[in-house]
């Protein structure tokens, strides 16, 4: 099997799995799960072979042609893709395994696994794609599978609404993306990443800020950046493994991946904006996370915040005062991708841990109704703690390295952003500690949490594996030479800068941790902030009114606008104009009908009139 065939079949396997489950195994849940798991396993093995076999490929097929316009679909597998593929394959497989336990008794198990397979297929499509159109196609497919999986509990109105919201908000982002793609086509004459890169390299002035920003719109939606982040917390309505896979580790990261993949299309001016969006998202997410009580929502806002980190890292690449811009950008890419990978592992771990907790507590998600789980669920507790520490950036764990790389980049390039990101780190430590202490320490607050017990190996196994990755992913030996292309771009702080950055990061970590411990205490029963400072709490709980603005827009602007247009359509066009014209003719008709009076004299007058008219006509009067 040639490499080309291997790549194509890796892409096709999960699709076939989804198809087989969808068509044949709808009611055969266990078989469906087995098929899906097998597909994920094949993907994992194949991916590892591709990645570690150091196989890098580029090829494409002509898909359709009109005149000079040709759409080619193709594959481009390089180090960048390999890195993401690694995350996708590993996390994906683990989550398949975890799902076996988590979804054991779910009535929609087959549908769930079909969705997972479909997601794997779409995600790998993004990873492999060598041109913007194919990326867009799989981009939408990822959105579709996300929609289906969020909607897994479709009978819950909240789940249905969340799925709809996720899809539409993403479409909003893709609105810009698609325009950007079209513009790029006419601007560069091709949509192949290779060709475009070559053009840019030949003449850097060809870049256009507009194109860059429009393409960034995609990441805006998919990676939950302000102001299109609103769907991500709601997406937690889906099953928890889905949140772990899609809404933490892989799909939301695809936005970052895309930016890195097309970095050469984004001029420095656009980068600046991107950086600020990322920074704002980072701090925003962490602020919102402070007041959430739903364990998954806390993690979701945390994800938003971390994605903001990555975007900011990417954007920071442009802010190099002197020196080679491209080099700086590559550094941004390195930092962003590095954080993407580590975040993928520990956030998946956190979500799965949360899933484990939720599963054990009979789908209780409020942290104030848990408590004391550390004793009853030791493995979960241990792995969750590792994930927690990795996230807040405990030195020695994966998160520390990747976060430091970003902070260093910010330190070097823009101190304001550095401050923002540092503050974010502090807040991260604060809210994660709150979560950790409240859920795992103290007394059990409800029967559900009291009855909780450790889950079986299907669920704990993946936790352990992910925990190992969360520890190790920051170290160089985890990333042998095969990822060099991307990971050697990761900026490493040295000397004084290292001292400053590492120092500050440790300080904020400790500060956040202590603040949370002191303020909330272990195993709190209720939110102290809510009691003490309802104003601040209320403001943070309002999530900066983004949802309200959107809701207001939908119900007051969009819906009314639609109603007005509908009214115009019905009353003015269909009514006044069409029916009116018909009515006018009808009136005329009644008039002519009335002309037939039945009186012969009137009729003779008609003829007389005719004669007169004709007479005048031939006389040339008329």
């Amino acid at each position: 099997m040639s490499n080309e065939q291997l790549i194509v079949s890796l892409l096709v396997v999960p699709f076939l799995s989804a198809l087989v489950i969808g068509v044949l195994l709808r009611r055969n849940h266990d078989a469906a799960a087995a098929v899906s798991l097998a597909a994920a396993g094949v993907v994992l093995l194949g991916s590892l072979y591709l990645i570690f076999g150091n196989i890098r490929e580029e090829f494409s097929y002509e898909w359709m042609t009109f005149g000079e316009y040709t759409v080619s679909l193709g594959f481009y597998f390089n180090d960048l893709a390999a890195l993401l593929l690694f995350v996708v394959a590993v996390v994906g497989f683990l989550i398949h395994v975890f799902s076996l336990g988590y979804m054991k008794d779910d009535p929609g198990k087959a549908r769930y696994f079909a969705g997972l397979s479909l997601f794997m297929f779409s995600m790998m499509g993004i990873v492999f794609a060598n041109n913007l159109i194919m990326i867009f196609i799989f981009w939408e497919l990822v959105g579709l599978s996300s929609f289906l999986l969020i909607n897994h509990y479709y009978h819950k109105p909240s789940a249905a609404a969340a799925a709809k919201k996720a899809f539409i908000v993403n479409r909003l982002g893709d609105f810009g993306f698609l325009i950007g793609i079209i513009w790029s086509y006419w601007h560069f004459g091709t949509l192949n990443l290779f060709d475009m890169a070559a053009l840019v390299e030949a003449d850097p002035d060809v870049l256009h800020v507009g194109i860059g920003l429009l393409l960034f719109c995609s990441a805006l939606g998919k990676s939950g950046q302000i102001p299109l982040h609103v769907w991500l917390p709601d997406a937690m309505e889906g099953p928890t493994p889905v949140s772990a896979l899609i809404h933490a580790a892989t799909m939301v990261a695809a936005g970052i991946y895309l930016l890195c993949r097309i970095f050469f299309l984004i001029p420095p001016d656009a980068m600046v904006l991107i950086m600020w969006v990322g920074a704002a998202t980072a701090v925003f997410g962490s602020l919102c996370a402070i007041v959430q009580t739903d364990i998954k929502k806390i993690l979701a806002y945390s994800t938003i915040s971390q994605l903001g980190y990555m975007v900011a890292a990417f954007g920071l690449g442009a802010l190099v005062v002197d020196g080679d811009t491209q080099t700086a950008i590559q550094a941004g890419i390195g930092a962003a991708m590095f954080h993407l990978v580590t975040h993928g592992f520990f956030k998946a771990l956190l979500f799965l841990g949360a899933g484990s907790v939720i599963h054990a507590c009979h789908h209780e998600q409020n942290i104030y109704r848990m408590g004391g789980l550390r004793l009853r669920m030791p493995i979960t507790f241990a792995t969750f703690t590792i994930g927690f520490l990795a996230l807040v950036g405990m030195p020695g764990l994966a998160g520390f390295f990747s976060k430091d790389a970003i902070l260093y980049l910010a330190w070097e390039n823009n101190r304001v952003v550095f401050l923002i990101l540092a503050a974010t780190a502090l807040l991260t430590a604060f809210y994660m500690t709150r979560l950790w202490l409240t859920a795992f320490f103290g007394e059990a607050k409800t029967d559900a949490s009291r009855d909780a017990s450790e889950n079986d190996w299907l669920m704990t196994g993946p936790l352990v594996v992910l925990a190992i990755f969360s520890v190790l992913a920051g170290y160089g030996f985890m990333h042998p030479a095969i990822f060099d292309g991307i990971l050697r771009e990761v900026p490493h702080a040295e000397g004084a800068a290292f001292a400053w950055v590492a120092g500050i990061s440790v300080v904020v970590l400790v500060a956040g941790f202590l603040a949370a411990w002191l303020y909330y205490g272990a195993g709190a029963r209720e939110d102290r902030l809510e009691k003490q400072y309802p104003g601040i709490h209320g403001f943070l709980a309002s999530k900066f009114f983004f949802d309200d603005v959107y809701e207001w827009y939908v119900s007051h602007v969009q819906q009314r606008f639609a109603s007005v247009l509908n009214f115009i359509d019905h009353i003015v066009i269909s009514g006044v104009i069409v029916r009116g014209a018909a009515g006018l003719v009808g009136l005329l008709s009644l008039g002519t009908r009335a002309a037939h009076t039945g009186n012969l004299h009137a009729y003779v007058y008609w003829i007389f009139l005719g004669v007169v008219l004709l007479w005048l006509f031939v006389r040339g009067v008329l």
Binding site: H601, Y605, F608, V611
Partner: protein, 180 residues
């Protein structure tokens, strides 16, 4: 003399025609119609179409108008329900009259009738009589107009049958459906 006669006959014709229109009683109208027909016949005489003049008197004055008179008498309609002419109708009829007269006038003053390039006006005096002799009619009817003549026969046949069909009285009124 002939000129004078023409004016007399023309006046007679037109005047009695006007009386046909104006007289309230249909019997009077029929009488005036006879006079008008005779006037027309006299004009034919002036034009030397003697055969036609005779025909006119025989057919029209003798047969047609008498038929009219019969019918008028037969129906004997008392115009009790006479409706006074509406305002609109009077206005319309005045307008119509004006227009009609204008039309007639426009024919008369038509420049193309006083033919351009006509050396002398054609008058009764300068033209030959045509069709004074009945045999000319016979000749034409049986040569050129043979086919119309034959068709006219069928026309009369159809008219005759039609008259019989339409005016025949029902022997038994019960066979008439109730609805009128």
């Amino acid at each position: 003399m002939v000129d004078f006669l023409f004016y007399i006959f023309a006046t007679l014709t037109l005047g009695s025609a006007a009386m046909v229109v104006l007289s309230r009683n249909p019997v009077n109208a029929a009488m005036f119609l006879i006079v008008s027909m005779v006037g027309v016949a006299s004009l034919f005489v002036l034009l030397s179409a003697f055969f036609l003049a005779v025909l006119q008197v025989l057919v029209y004055a003798g047969a047609v108008v008498v038929l009219f008179l019969f019918v008028v008498m037969l129906l004997d309609e008392e115009d009790k329900r006479r409706v006074s002419p509406g305002k609109l109708n009077s206005v319309a009829s005045v307008v119509a009259l004006v227009l009609l007269l204008l039309g007639a006038f426009s024919i008369v003053i038509s420049p193309d009738l006083v033919v351009p390039g006509m050396a002398e006006p054609r008058t009764l005096g300068t033209t030959e009589a045509v069709g004074a002799n009945p045999s000319e009619y016979g000749y034409h009817l049986f040569t050129t107009y043979m086919l119309p003549f034959q068709v006219a026969g069928f026309l009369l046949l159809v008219a005759m049958i039609g008259v019989i069909l339409v005016s025949r009285k029902y022997r038994d009124d019960s066979e008439v459906p109730a609805r009128s």
